[in-house]
C-alpha cells in the first residue's frame, strides 16, 4: 500500500493499516493448527479406490488444498480396499501407518482394537447427521472409531425388457422370496441363454452378504448372543433353501471370478433378468443401455429389510498435528456439498439426509431413475456386526452358499459344516 502522497515516511493511516495487517495476520496464523515446524502438515491417506473413485478424490483434494493451504493430502500409498485390512493391520503391527485409511465396515472391529485408532465420536456427532446404518457401522462398543465413507444398500435391479418378453409384471415392494424364485424361474430361458438371476459363486463377501437380510428377516443374527456361536443355525437353513431352489431351477447364473464383474457384464448384455446389487452398478447399467427398474429386496415376512455395507475412513494417531489436520479434512469431506460429489464418483449413497436433499443429489436422482429406492431402503437397512471374527464367519458361510449353488450339498448339510467352521472361529480367543 503506497503512501497517498508519495511521502517516504509512513503517515499515521498507513502505519495503522500496516500494524493492523500484521496483527490480523498473526491472529489468523495462530488460529490454524499449532505447528512445531513451519510449512504445511501432510496427511497420508490410503484411499483404497480404483480409478473412478480416485479421480473424484483427486478433484476433491485439489479443492481442499485451495481452501486449506496449511494441509496437504497425500493420496499416494496403500492398496485397493479389498486388501486394506491386512495391509493396515500389518502397518499397525510394524508401527508405521498412515493418517487415514479406507477400511470396510466389517473389518473395523479388528482395526479399532489398536490404541492408535483415534476416537472420533465428537467429530461424527458434529457431522451432518449420518444415516443410522452409517453410524452403526462405525461404532465399536459404543464409541465411534471411524468416519463413514461410503454408504450403499442392496436392492433388486430388473431388466424391464426381459420381464416384458416373459410377460411377467415387475415385482413390487413387499414381495417374498418365494415370488423371487418363481419370477427367476419364469425369466429363465435355456434356449436363449437367459438366466432369471445371478449370484457370485466364489465364496467371498459378495457371495455372503446377500444372505444376511434373509437371516435377519427370520429373526436370526450373524453372531449369537454370548459371541461363542453363530446366531443363524436354523434361519440359515431356510435361507439356503431359497438358494437351493434357485440353483435347482437352473435359474441362477453363477459368477466364478472374484469381483463379480462377469455377472454384471452378463446382466448388462441382457442375459440376466434381475440381480441384487447396489447403487454403484447403476452407471454401468445405464451405459449398457439396459432399461431397468429397481425394486426393494424381497423378504419372507413381507416387511422391508435389506443390508447396507458402509465403508469407513479410519483415523490413526501420528501425533497431534496430523490428527487435527486429518479431522479437518474428513469433516470437510463429509459435508453435504463434498459428499454429493464423492457419492457421484464413488457410487455411494448420500451419507446424510442433508446431502440427499441437496439439489446436486436431486439432479443425480433425476438423471438416474429409481435411485431413491436405494436411499429409501436405508431406513430398513441393517449392517453386519462389527466383530473381529466376522471375516472367518463370512468365509464359512460363503463356502456353504457355493456348495448349495453347485448342488454339492443340501442346505442342512452345508449349514452344519458352516456352523462347525464359524463356531470354531468364534471360540478362538481374541
Amino acid at each position: 500500500m503506497s503512501g497517498l502522497d508519495g511521502n517516504l515516511l509512513m503517515d499515521r493511516r498507513g502505519f495503522l493499516r500496516g500494524a493492523g495487517g500484521l496483527v490480523l495476520g498473526t491472529a489468523v496464523a495462530g488460529c490454524g493448527p499449532a505447528r512445531s515446524t513451519p510449512g504445511p502438515v501432510t496427511v497420508e491417506v490410503w484411499h483404497g479406490q480404483t480409478d473412478t473413485g480416485k479421480k473424484v478424490l483427486d478433484a476433491l483434494v485439489a479443492d481442499f488444498h485451495r481452501t486449506h493451504p496449511g494441509i496437504r493430502i497425500d493420496l499416494g500409498g496403500g492398496v485397493l480396499a479389498d486388501a486394506m485390512l491386512q495391509k493396515i493391520t500389518a502397518a499397525l503391527a510394524s508401527g508405521s501407518f498412515p493418517d487415514i485409511a479406507y477400511v470396510f465396515g466389517s473389518d473395523l472391529a479388528s482395526v479399532a482394537r489398536s490404541p492408535s485408532v483415534v476416537d472420533v465420536t465428537d467429530l461424527v456427532d458434529a457431522g451432518p447427521g449420518f444415516w443410522a446404518p452409517a453410524r452403526a457401522a462405525v461404532t465399536v462398543n459404543g464409541r465411534v472409531r471411524a468416519v463413514p465413507a461410503l454408504l450403499d444398500s442392496l436392492a433388486v435391479v430388473c431388466n424391464r425388457e426381459l420381464f416384458a418378453n416373459a410377460e411377467i409384471p415387475l415385482p413390487a415392494a413387499g414381495w417374498t422370496w418365494a415370488d423371487f424364485v418363481d419370477t427367476a424361474r419364469k425369466l429363465t430361458d435355456a434356449g436363449s441363454g437367459t438366466f432369471g438371476t445371478a449370484w457370485p459363486a466364489t465364496g467371498d463377501e459378495d457371495t455372503v452378504w446377500r444372505l444376511w437380510p434373509m437371516v435377519w428377516d427370520l429373526g436370526g443374527d450373524v453372531i449369537g448372543a454370548g459371541g461363542r456361536g453363530i446366531g443363524f443355525a436354523d434361519q440359515g437353513v431356510r435361507a439356503l433353501e431359497v438358494v437351493r431352489d434357485l440353483a435347482a431351477a437352473h435359474a441362477v447364473y453363477l459368477d466364478p471370478k472374484t469381483g463379480s464383474e462377469q455377472m454384471y457384464q452378463a446382466f448388462e448384455a441382457g442375459h440376466i433378468g434381475m440381480v441384487a446389487t447396489g447403487p454403484w452398478q447403476l452407471p454401468d447399467i445405464t451405459d449398457a443401455g439396459i432399461d431397468y427398474a429397481v425394486v426393494p429386496l424381497p423378504s419372507f415376512s413381507r416387511r422391508p429389510i435389506t443390508i447396507s455395507g458402509p465403508d469407513t475412513w479410519t483415523l490413526f494417531d501420528n501425533g497431534e498435528e496430523r490428527v487435527q489436520a486429518a479431522r479437518t479434512f474428513l469433516s470437510w469431506l463429509t459435508e453435504p456439498a463434498q459428499d454429493v460429489r464423492w457419492d457421484d464418483g464413488a457410487g455411494s449413497l448420500p451419507l446424510s439426509r442433508r446431502a440427499q436433499q441437496l439439489p446436486a443429489w436431486q439432479e443425480k436422482t433425476a438423471e438416474t431413475p429409481d435411485l431413491p429406492v436405494f436411499v429409501d431402503a436405508l431406513e430398513h437397512a441393517r449392517v453386519r456386526p462389527v466383530h473381529p471374527a466376522y471375516p472367518q464367519v463370512s468365509a464359512a458361510v460363503g463356502t456353504a452358499i457355493v456348495a448349495v449353488l453347485l448342488g454339492r450339498a443340501t442346505p442342512a448339510d452345508a449349514l452344519r459344516d458352516c456352523a462347525a467352521a464359524a463356531n470354531a472361529a468364534l471360540i478362538i480367543p481374541r
Partner: protein
C-alpha cells in the same frame, strides 16, 4: 550301448533322443511361453481362442511395468539383501566353521550339534517370534529385517566346517609354527583352498535369499521396501488382467537367477549336489 542286430532300420540318431526331446520340452515350454507372452500385446493374449505365438514383438508390457511399478527399486532391494547376506554368511560362516573345525574349546561338540539341530526347526514355528523380535528392534519395514535373521545360517557354518576338516592340517600347522596368527592362516592359506565350499555357500545363500517370499511378506509392508519376489506377487494381484505386463515383470524377476545359473552352471549344480550328498 547294445547293438540292435535285429532292427530293420537304424535311426540316424540315438533313439534316446526320442524320449528326451519331449521331456526336455515339458520342462522348457513354460519358460519359453514366459518369454513369448511378455512380448505379446494384451489384445493378442485376450483373444479367443488365444494365440500360441506372438504375431509381432510388443514391449508394451515392459513399458507398463517400468512406468507403473517399482521393479527397479525392488530389484535393488533384493540385490542389497542378497549381496549383504552372502558376504556375511561367507565371513561368519568361515570364522565359525574354522573355529569348530580346528579349535578346541569346551562344549564345542554340543554347541555344533545344537546349531545343526536348529536347521530342523520348521519355519512356521519361528516366524511369529522372529517378527516380534524384529519389531522390538525397530527393523520391521526395513531391509534390516530381511538381512539380520539370515546373517549366518547353520548350513554355512556346518558346510564350511566339514570342508575345513577335510583339508590336511600340515599346511596350517607349518604356518602356525612359523608364527602366523590364526587369522592370517585362515585367510591366506585355508580360504584359497576352499573355493568349492565357499562358492557352494555363496550360491545357495544367494538362491535362498533372492527367491524368498515368506519372510519378506511378513516383515515388509511399504511397497518401496519390497523385494523383487514380493513386488512381483503384489503386482500380479493388482494388475492381473494385464498379463503381458505381469509376464514382463516375471521375466525381470527371473532373469538374474537364470543368467547367473547359465553363467555358472557347474558351480550351481555342484553346490546343490554337494549340499545333498554331504547333508
Amino acid at each position: 550301448m547294445r547293438t540292435q542286430t535285429t532292427r530293420p532300420a537304424r535311426l540316424p540318431f540315438d533313439p534316446w533322443h526320442l524320449l528326451l526331446v519331449p521331456l526336455a520340452l515339458v520342462f522348457a515350454a513354460p519358460l519359453v511361453w514366459l518369454l513369448l507372452s511378455s512380448v505379446m500385446s494384451n489384445a493378442e493374449i485376450n483373444r479367443f481362442p488365444p494365440a500360441l505365438w506372438p504375431s509381432h514383438v510388443d514391449f508394451a508390457g515392459y513399458r507398463y511395468v517400468l512406468d507403473n511399478a517399482l521393479f527397479l527399486r525392488w530389484f535393488t532391494n533384493s540385490l542389497i539383501v542378497s549381496a549383504v547376506t552372502v558376504v556375511s554368511n561367507l565371513l561368519f560362516g568361515t570364522l565359525g566353521g574354522y573355529a569348530f573345525a580346528r579349535m578346541r574349546f569346551a562344549g564345542s561338540r554340543a554347541l555344533l550339534a545344537l546349531m545343526v539341530a536348529t536347521m530342523a526347526i520348521p519355519f512356521q514355528l519361528t516366524m511369529i517370534p522372529t517378527f516380534l523380535v524384529m519389531k522390538k528392534l525397530g527393523l520391521i519395514d526395513s531391509l534390516g529385517a530381511l538381512i539380520v535373521p539370515s546373517l549366518v545360517t547353520p548350513f554355512a557354518v556346518f558346510l564350511l566346517r566339514q570342508f575345513f576338516l577335510s583339508l590336511p592340517r600340515e599346511l596350517e600347522e607349518a604356518a602356525w609354527i612359523d608364527g602366523c596368527s590364526r587369522l592370517r592362516v585362515l585367510f591366506t592359506i585355508v580360504l584359497p583352498l576352499s573355493r568349492p565350499a565357499l562358492s557352494t555357500v555363496a550360491v545357495l545363500t544367494f538362491l535362498s535369499t533372492w527367491n524368498d517370499l515368506t519372510w519378506p511378506l511378513i516383515a515388509i509392508n511399504h511397497d518401496t521396501t519390497y523385494t523383487l519376489q514380493l513386488g512381483l506377487t503384489t503386482f500380479q494381484g493388482q494388475h492381473h488382467t494385464n498379463w503381458a505386463a505381469v509376464m514382463a515383470g516375471n521375466v525381470i524377476t527371473v532373469l538374474p537367477v537364470l543368467l547367473a545359473f547359465l553363467g555358472a552352471q557347474k558351480t550351481f549344480i555342484q553346490s546343490v549336489t554337494s549340499s545333498g550328498l554331504k547333508g
